[in-house]
Amino acid sequence: MMKMYLVERQKELTRRLEAILFAAHEPLSLASLQRLLPEYERSTLSAHLLTLQAEYAHRALNLLEVADGWRFQINADYSEEVRKVQKVQPEKLSHPLLETLAIIVFYQPVTRGDIETMRGVSLNSQALKTLFERDWITVQGCRDVPGRPELLVTTTHLLDDLGMRTLEELKQQCEVLLSSAESAVD
């Protein structure tokens, strides 16, 4: 009897986490989950998140951990279905924007001047504006040279949008793609 009660209590916590994560509009970190469920230890919450993740592993909806915390997302295999319902067009990013972003991702922190030198053209202000608006990049301090140019870095929001946990993971994934493309050419 006691055992059944305990099991039910465990399941209850998993369901509460499920409800919270489902209703959240942003990824929730372990810290913010604990603020919402103060009666539980972090380790307990962490264990239940993994349980929940396992339960959803074979569904179209998956629980994932990204840079800013845990969130539900629809498996990319079913994006076609989502697009049909939401009637959204897959957006394309321009070459200048992608090149600028690539430089910031891999060489951060960089100044606007660094980007211009590496790309060999004057900075595309529209591309940079879009990157700021999307909250993919931000200013973090200045370089200690004359003019004190602002240093640009990527944000955790970029990692969230690419479904990554850390910057290293993002860089690694890009390198993997690069090497697979090269081997395809060879």
């Binding site: 489902f22 209703a23 509009h25 909806l61 969130r71 539900f72 997302q73 629809i74 498996n75 990319a76 994006s79 989502v82 939401q86 959204v88 897959p90 957006e91 990013l93 070459h95 200048p96 992608l98 090149e99 972003l101 690539a102 430089i103 991702v105 891999f106 590496m118 790309r119 060999g120 053209v121 004057s122 969230d160 949008d161 690419l162 479904g163 993002l170 994934q173 890009c174 390198e175 793609l177 690069l178 493309a181």
Partner: protein
């Protein structure tokens, strides 16, 4: 020595293949003019254009045939000009760089060859770095991205609670607000400075001229309008000044004010 790859370029209307004049473009190499125009406007800058030329000819970035590259680069710049594409300064600066490298290669090698580095080295390093960035950008674009490749489920429950239907305005509220708006508008009306229609010196002249006719003149101020009021003030001021200067006498008779030319002592006598 490695065989040079086929180099085709068009100089005005003549077509050269490995330096030999051709009658027409080989068919499999023909690029329709329209496609060329599209192609030209898609370059992200001089590095992009150079890389395109190098890749198309399958040149090695580390061993650039400067003569060919420079010729082709200039050819494309000319095409861009012809197509009225804006030729930004960075394209011209790259052209200058290419020329510089080419001319340095043409100089006879000095005795200490080993000390002198290959002038192409810097360019090929920059090109390699840019190529890496292009590849990374491409890889970055291929990564699954939120809202393009995958999506996040949304429950709008709390959102809809937050967005209560806007309250319907009451007719009386609208009236009150309108009144307030009109009032506020009046308060914020710009202060206008108008030119005075009556000038003091002109009125003094006029009154003095009247008094010259002799005898007492009644001053009958009229004030029906704002204009009258202004005239009244100016006239009154004019009378006071004339009186002070000793040109006229003022006298109050009942509610009226009358004036006359001041008589000189002899005249009074």
């Amino acid at each position: 020595m490695e065989a040079l790859p086929a180099v085709i370029y068009r100089n005005d209307d003549a077509i050269y293949l490995n330096g030999e004049l051709l009658d027409a473009l080989p068919e499999n190499l023909y690029i329709p003019p329209h496609a060329l125009r599209v192609l030209l406007s898609t370059f992200c800058g001089p590095f992009d254009l150079l890389l395109y030329l190098i890749r198309r000819q399958r040149f090695n970035v580390l061993d650039l045939p400067m003569q060919t590259i420079t010729t082709q680069y200039f050819h494309y710049m000319r095409l861009m000009q012809k197509e009225d594409l804006p030729l930004a300064g960075e394209y011209l600066s790259m052209a200058a760089w290419l020329c510089e490298i080419k001319s340095r290669l043409l100089l006879p090698a000095s005795a200490d060859v080993e000390a002198e580095e290959d002038p192409r080295q810097d360019l090929s390093q920059r090109l390699q770095a840019y190529m890496k960035i292009q590849n990374l950008a491409h890889a970055l674009d291929k990564l699954p991205r939120l809202q393009r490749d995958f999506f996040i489920p949304h429950i709008d429950g709390d959102e809809s609670l937050r967005a209560l239907p806007p309250p319907c305005p009451q007719w009386s509220d609208l009236q009150a607000i309108m009144r307030e708006l009109i009032l506020r508008r009046k308060l914020s009306r710009e202060h206008e400075i108008k030119r005075e229609p009556y000038r003091l010196d002109e009125r003094m002249d006029a009154l003095l001229r009247q008094s010259l006719a002799g005898g007492w003149h009644n001053w009958r101020p009229v004030f029906r309008t704002w204009d009258d009021k202004q005239r009244l003030i100016v006239d009154f001021l004019a009378l006071l000044i004339l009186s002070k200067r000793g040109a006229i006498d003022l006298e109050q008779q009942g509610a009226l004010l009358r004036y006359r030319r001041r008589l000189t002592a002899e005249a009074v006598a």
